[in-house]
């Protein structure tokens, strides 16, 4: 609601009747512009922070490359050659320039970071998409069923399951899923190494367990939020009484009116959660051998492959910032109070 209030405080006026003109003067566009600017600042901040942290930590990249028997002289020489002994601002500047040109450098194995990312991104994307879509869909269904009869059977069940989802660690839950569904029942494979390439069928087969591990806590959060919001709308909002007065059935009131309005808070939460989601995805990917950028990151950290780490973290940050931005924008687009402002009537 903060967005709506912000806009109204600024007295968003509809502008000229013509639709394009209205859009240009619309509060929505101004808001979008401001948000974009903020997003850019954040993006820069994250990359800077990453770089700073990486530089601050004791870095023996050269040592690692040369092996244990290298002499200090050789190490120093390699450091110089790799440019690792230049002052921090210089290195950052070079890296930043590279990033702006789309070049993320080469990792320790000589492969281009860009290509590494491109190779591993699809798997993670598929996993995240599956987890998000699944948990959202299930959450909406369960929340609607629960809100229909507060404190009824569906409601209590949904609350219990959500509590479990919130409290279970994704990695523990993943292990449980593997034991039960992959090992004992054999319905799904234990490893999901062809996620990101492969057919729809293999996507479903290999993606379900990891997506479920990731999605369970998400489902819990979304369900709780949506249910609470729906119940609140049904009990407190005047337009619900109007809808009932028209003679609409309870399901119609719930879905056509209450759910419509509750989707707003849900969308914001989805965007906000992206950061933690990516972190959790890394662990799940490692567990299920999914060839995504999360597991790449873990290996890179183990290898102290700084360029690769920076590249992946950049992608993480980009996704998080974009997700937040997207959530904000969707809010602006979907809430007619922001999209249209007040018309002169």
């Amino acid at each position: 609601m903060a967005l709506a209030q912000q806009v109204q405080l600024q007295g968003g006026n509809g502008g000229p009747r013509d639709r394009a003109g209205r859009l240009a003067g619309s509060p929505a566009l101004r808001l979008v512009g401001r948000r974009l600017l903020a997003a850019l600042v954040v993006l820069w901040g994250v990359t800077f922070l990453t770089f700073a942290v990486m530089s601050a930590l004791p870095n023996d990249t050269a040592q690692v490359l040369l092996g244990l028997h290298a002499t200090p002289g050789q190490v120093t020489a390699l450091n110089k050659a790799l440019g690792l002994n230049r002052p921090f601002p210089v290195r950052y500047w070079h890296w930043l320039v590279g990033v702006l040109h789309g070049n993320l450098g080469t990792d320790l194995e000589g492969a281009s970071v860009n290509s590494q990312l491109a190779q591993h991104l699809p798997a993670t994307a598929e996993l995240l998409a599956y987890a998000l879509a699944g948990s959202l869909l299930l959450a909406v269904i369960v929340a609607v069923l629960a809100a229909r009869q507060p404190n009824g059977l569906a409601d209590r069940l949904s609350l219990a399951v959500s509590m479990l989802g919130l409290s279970a660690a994704p990695y523990a839950f993943a292990i449980f899923l593997i034991v039960v569904f992959a090992v004992k029942l054999g319905w799904f494979p234990v490893q999901s190494n062809s996620l990101g390439s492969g057919s729809v069928l293999s996507f479903l087969q290999q993606g379900t367990l990891p997506a479920a591990s990731l999605g369970f806590p998400l489902f819990a959060i979304y369900t709780r939020l949506l249910r609470a919001d729906l119940v609140e709308q049904l009990q407190r909002e005047d337009y619900i009484v109007t809808a009932k007065a028209k003679g609409l059935a309870p399901w119609q009131v719930l879905i056509r009116h209450a759910l419509r309005n509750s989707m707003f808070s849900l969308i914001t939460v989805v965007g906000l959660n992206m950061g933690t989601l990516i972190g959790a995805a890394a662990i799940i990917e490692a567990l299920f051998s999914v060839p995504g950028i999360g597991s790449e990151l873990l290996t890179a950290i183990g290898d102290k492959d700084v360029p690769l780490i920076e590249g992946i973290v950049l992608v993480f940050a980009l996704v998080t910032v974009l997700a937040n931005l997207a959530a904000d924008l969707m809010y602006a687009v979907l809430d007619p109070r922001i999209r249209y402002g007040r018309s002169t009537s």
Partner: protein, 342 residues
Amino acid sequence: MDVLDDPIAAARTGAALLEVEDLRVGFAAGGRDVRAVNGVSFRVSPGRTLAIIGESGSGKTVSCRAVMGLLPAGTVVTGSARLRGAELIGLSDSQLRKHRGADMAMVFQDPARSLNPTMRVGAQVAEAVRAHRAVSRSQAREEAVELLRLVRIPLPDRRYHEYPHQLSGGMRQRVMIAMALACRPRLLIADEATTALDVTTQAQIMELLLDLQAELNMALIMISHDLGLAASYADDVVVMYAGKIVEQAPARRLFGTRGAVRMRYTRALLDAIPRLDRPAHTILPVVGGRPPDPAALPPGCPFAPRCPVTADDCLTTEPELAEHVEGHRWACWHPCQNGDTP
């Protein structure tokens, strides 16, 4: 043809569209028994306007919502409310839904909050049309535009696509009325429908309601705390206090002849209206105190603590609503005399 379709015949035969008898509403809040409505009876006929007047908490809104079946679950409603002879109290929600929006409709107080902010107004009206009739989407759309035209919204096909926040208060209320009229109800309840509007718009909306009433031969109940409104527009008036009716009479009798008001409470309400013919800086005779707590109603007359002429019997025994003069009922042990000056 149903006698109720002819207002003159209805008046002659005394057939009422809505007959409420001994309506009582109670619910539990925080462990206490709240008695919101304590035995209310009235009737409305087609073409007639009944005004229900009272302070906040007097039970006026709760009574009408009880008739419509819009009270939250867990509320206990007893008594009888017959719409064209069909008993409404005691029906299940799915049975009551057939009447809600179809035979009887309601317009609410704050159109800013009573309309769904994320749905276009036209769609909301069309939804009302399709709620009770099997009509195609495009037909419902056409009817919705016609309804918007009926409530005198200019350029209705343009307005159809707008959202509630894009309309002014008066327009929003017209949209609410359009929604209520979608299925040509026989009974329209206007719950403080003009309270949130400025005076000019108020007059426009009231005129609209009365015109529509005449056109569609509806019975109209207007709930308000504004005596002036009742005086200007109502045929019959019912005054409620603490969940009971304390005075009931045709409007002309109550407001016309000076001093026809009997019940002390109504008298006090009338006197509290500022008047131009009083000398400047006269202190306004306001009724002190507050209405009683509906969970802890005192014995005796509920108005006794605030009444200027409380006597012993007022505190012990509750006065019964009785028709002392023809067409005029009141519940008071020591009512104002005819021609009483305050």
